[in-house]
Amino acid sequence: MSPSNTPAATLYEKIWEAHAVAQGPGGRTLLYVDRHLLHDGSFHAFAALKAAGRAVRRPDAAFATPDHYAPTRGRENIADPELRDKVETLQANARATRITLFPIDDVRQGIVHVIGPEQGITQPGITLVCGDSHTSTHGALGALAFGIGASEVAHVLATQALWQTRAKTMRVSVTGKLPAGVHSKDIILALIAQIGAFGGTGYTLEYAGPGIRALSMEARMTICNMSIEAGARSGLIAPDETTYEYLAGRPHSPQGADWERALTRWRLLPSDADARFDREVALDAAALEPMATWGTSPEHGIGVAGVVPDPSGQSDATRRASMEKALRYMDLKPGQPIEGLAIDRVFIGSCTNSRIEDLRAAAQVVRGRKAVIPAMVVPGSGLVKRAAEAEGLDRVFIDAGFDWREAGCSMCVGMNGDLVAAGERCASTSNRNFEGRQGKGARTHLMSPAMAAAAAVTGKITDVRKLSLPPGRGPGRGL
């Protein structure tokens, strides 16, 4: 219960209130921005700032790293002049404005949404923005984090604040224990299939319940990451002991007496027991099976035992036509089972699933097997890569014939040249199966790292639960 003198509030409302600097007309609020992440796609915003002759208000609150254009090999001497230019432009912009930079040759470089939490830049109760829609990831630590466009990036650089309209709140209560072989990626794919690709539009999602509490930090990030695929700009999870344990001792986490002060504040953040949400949604994790998408929207997820849906069941003509278009693009037929579908290529990586636990889950399936199709693993950061190598995971992948690359966005979006060829089917641990997302004409099937690994060693969409695993290494917990 909230103290009787303050009305009950959700986590979102508490962070919002704490950061409101000024009120504008029509319910617009000027929100203070605590942390700002920048990447090599931010050059438009830097250019706009420069053109307007404005200075960066708080370089100490901004952190930059190249990720979208970062080559995943041969980066000591980047051959493609355009890629090199994007990486160097970011690095030059960051240096000129005295923004903290994790450059391409630094072990701390990686995907912005991996390194924010990893460096302790992301903290409970803060506001954090980035010119990238998957900024929702950082909500896993109880930060109000959302993606913004280039104009807003320039606005934050200049003012350290943003005009925002308060979103509605939706609580997603997850109960039940994940069955073996089912992971947090399956929770979020199932949720998006349930509420739709715009079910969360206009809302801030808060993931709650025992099914969320039981998850590791990495697994929580996977869920918050894909909030935007349900249309929600932000997804939140209240901080708890798992969060504090994760953050303790990280380079940018508060230290010493500050850590104790921070903890006291963080413990007040969770939504009050009697707080009201505008919408409530429930999901039973125990009832889930491994998921895969069939179409070109993240809402096109089905259980691995399921079949491709029939558009003729759609009453809305526009929706029906869009589904038919998706089926044509994906070269699939209604009623076709998703399991057994031949796959040409596997990508394990992206800000959704490139953290150490993701690589462990994939390696567990790969160990002692061989990839029968081209497959690559792209760790989310140099530090994830190093940690994986310390555990010998790189050997597991390399021995099985996987490509083991340097950190970056890579084949999630293909901007660095890591592309899926036209017509190829890719089993991918990323977050978007849009037409052309991984390359022109590329066909993407989204799934968990364990499922992607199963696809790599079998050459088709395979229920990972049917693959025998080494004794004592059941594909259970976390992720």
């Binding site: 355009e82 200049a158 526009t318 978007r432 052309g436 022109k440």
Partner: protein, 200 residues
């Protein structure tokens, strides 16, 4: 930014749900500077596969209004999606719902994004398909859209965005008027959460 008042124009209908910003501008073009003219990449791959793509049909040339389906502009935060559409001459878009970031980006570029009820927008799209070249009128001050049949539909817009559009205001200038409040916030931050504050 060019102020927005009233607009009467041909409207082009796009009958696809969940049009993501990757489709509006494929990622491989994002390395271009803005001066490259993002309208050149607008719906690039969609157009290539469809010679009869609605944006290329003669009847809709000169359209300044787009009428789209649910969740238009979902996905990536790339503002290039707005630049491409605006660069192609569009000044307003109407849909039953938009991706939140795309919606925000629209106003930042002087474009009016209007949400109308699903059935009204669906009806409007089919009318525009039946009668290509039909015109709509948008009156921002009055917050109305006049359909080709003369019927009028009101729309909501938050007063802040409306003011900015009507006057063509740069938001950063507006925010700078609150710089004292921002500085006061920073003082409080230094006292309460010094680990988040700038070290002096």
């Amino acid at each position: 930014m060019t102020p927005f008042n009233t607009l009467t124009s041909i409207a082009v209908p796009l009958d696809i749900v969940n049009v993501d910003t990757d489709r509006i501008v494929p990622a491989r073009f994002l390395r271009q500077p803005r001066s490259a003219g993002y309208q050149n990449f607008l719906f690039h791959d969609l157009r290539e596969g469809d010679e009869d793509f609605v944006f290329d049909r003669a009847e809709y040339q000169g359209a300044q209004i787009l009428v789209a389906a649910e969740n238009f502009g979902c996905g990536s935060s790339r503002e290039a999606a707005v630049w491409a559409l605006a660069g192609a001459g569009l000044r307003a878009w109407i849909a039953p719902s938009f991706g939140d970031i795309f919606f925000e980006n629209s106003f930042k570029n002087g474009v009016l994004a209007i949400v109308l009820p699903l059935d009204r927008v669906a009806g409007l799209r089919s009318l525009l398909q039946r009668e290509p070249g039909a015109r709509l009128t948008i009156d921002l001050q009055a917050q109305t859209v006049t359909f080709p049949d003369g019927s009028i539909e009101g729309f909501e817009i938050d007063p802040f965005r409306k003011e900015c559009l009507l006057a063509g205001i740069d938001e950063i200038d507006l925010t700078m008027r609150h710089v004292d409040q921002i500085a006061a916030y920073e003082d409080r931050q230094r006292a309460e959460t010094p680990w988040l504050a700038a070290s002096r």
